[in-house]
């Protein structure tokens, strides 16, 4: 069954992320920009991997997105990426499709949140 994004948990735990990088908001902004650029590339690759049922690729991309999401304390994206990695490992295409949709929704939620609260 498709999981809905948890609207009660913010898409970014800004305090935790800042704590990890020494409290520098400018640097957090720079890292988020890198994350966004990277996300656009990876999501395209991931879409292709899901369509082609390339499970090793699904696993690897899920793993990378999980790492960068964890570094920036993006809990929703991290969870969706973790599920994608697991779907790749378990060769479960339904789970991969479901997690992929959730990843996209979490990303949109993060964008909206950052637009509303830029700092």
């Amino acid at each position: 069954m498709e999981k809905k994004p948890n609207e009660e948990i913010l898409p970014i735990n800004r305090a935790e992320a800042l704590d990890r990088i020494g409290g520098d908001p400018g640097f957090l902004k720079e890292l988020l920009e890198i994350y966004f650029q990277e996300y656009i590339v990876r999501i395209k690759e991931l879409r292709g991997a899901v369509q082609g049922q390339k499970f090793q690729k699904i696993l690897e991309l899920g793993h990378t997105l999980k790492g960068s999401s964890a570094n920036l304390s993006l809990p929703g994206l991290r969870q969706a990426a973790t599920d994608i990695e697991m779907a790749g490992r378990e060769k479960d295409i339904e789970k991969a499709k479901d997690s992929f949709s959730r990843l996209e929704r979490e990303f949109e939620r993060l964008k909206r949140h950052l637009a509303q609260f830029p700092d």
Binding site: R20, G22, L31, I34, E38, T64, G67, S68, A70, N71
Partner: protein, 332 residues
């Protein structure tokens, strides 16, 4: 392949360089910024293949490797780096989201020195890098001591030429190689004419100065691939690979002439010294050996002394044998 991002020089100047191998650019940038802040230079690789190329650099002593990377994994990089021969040890910290005990054991068994789970806690990383530096520092100290011991055990401390044991070993090796390649090995034994008189007249310190100057003059005038060592006292032995008796005579004469012209300044005194040289080439022997070569050189050197010093004498044992004599002949 993308070029590696250029390393940053820290303010300290001689900063240690660390390889960051991570396909996640967010993680890579976070590591880079912190490492630079702590005074390290950094090299970034975003896949295992780039990382492997960077790891071949002899100056690279510390690496942070992500476990899961495209092309070559961090785990495989650990295994590879332990198999190649590098002059220095590379300290490796493996970074990964995996935190099961079995994963940690696999990482360490593959050759990692340390292990950290992601997201990285930077205070912890800072401390772990200090540990890495401590290990590298210990290795540097050990290598420096090893180098010093090598010099002490192979060099003559007055002249800096090879010592007796080492030059004799070289002679043995050259004879073996010459026999394999069917090329003659030459040897020259020489000493300073009336060296005792230098010591008695000007003192032992002046004698030492003369020996050092002779050693320097000979070193300058031998071929690049010849080897020169102090055999004992004022006797010096030179090994000349792939050298016929004819060529040996020319080289010996060049050495004699160069040293005879050389003015030596020691303790405010301007001295000069001449040499007597005895030469032998393995091509003149049935079964060349270190002992036979030294014996033949010695005889030729004695002959040079008999012929009035400041000259070169060649040993030709086969010719001597044919003539029924063991005397050397003066080089023309």
């Amino acid at each position: 392949m993308k070029p590696l991002r250029k390393a940053k020089q820290s303010e300290a100047g001689e900063a240690m360089q660390i390889l960051i191998a991570d396909d996640d650019p967010v993680s890579g940038r976070m590591l880079e910024k912190n490492l630079n802040k702590w005074g390290y230079k950094t090299l970034l690789a975003d896949n295992g293949q780039e990382a492997w190329q960077a790891l071949q650099k002899p100056g690279l002593r510390l690496a942070l490797l992500d476990w899961m990377m495209p092309k070559i994994t961090g785990l495989e990089l650990c295994q590879r780096i332990r198999k190649i021969s590098k002059p220095n040890y590379t300290y490796v910290i493996l970074l990964t989201a995996k935190d099961e005990l079995q994963d940690i054991i696999r990482g360490l068994e593959a050759g990692a020195d340390d292990y950290m789970t992601k997201p990285v806690n930077f205070l912890e990383l800072h401390a772990r890098l200090q540990t890495g530096r401590r290990i590298i520092g210990l290795e540097d100290h050990l290598l420096k001591t090893q180098k010093r011991l090598y010099v002490l055990s192979t060099r003559d401390n007055l002249t800096s030429l090879w010592n007796r044991a080492t030059i004799l070993r070289f002679l043995d090796e050259e004879l073996e190689q010459g026999a394999r390649q069917k090329s003659p090995t030459g040897a020259i034994m020489l000493d300073v004419d009336l060296f005792k008189k230098v010591n008695d007249t000007h003192g032992h310190l002046a004698g030492d100065g003369v020996l050092r100057a002779i050693a320097a003059c000979l070193t300058e005038n031998i071929r690049l691939y010849d080897k020169i060592g102090r055999y004992g006292g004022d006797e010096i032995l030179i090994i000349l690979p792939n050298c016929s008796l004819k060529n040996l005579a020319k080289i010996a004469e060049r050495l004699r002439s160069a040293c005879a012209k050389n003015k030596i300044n020691v303790y405010g005194k301007r001295l000069s010294a001449t040499l007597s040289l005895g030469c032998v080439s393995s091509e003149t022997m049935d079964k060349p050996s270190v002992d036979r070569m030294i014996l033949a050189c010695d005889r030729a050197l004695y002959q040079a002394k008999q012929q009035g010093r400041n000259c070169v004498a060649l040993s030709d044992p086969l010719a001597d044998y044919r003539k029924g004599t063991t005397h050397g002949k003066k080089a023309k």
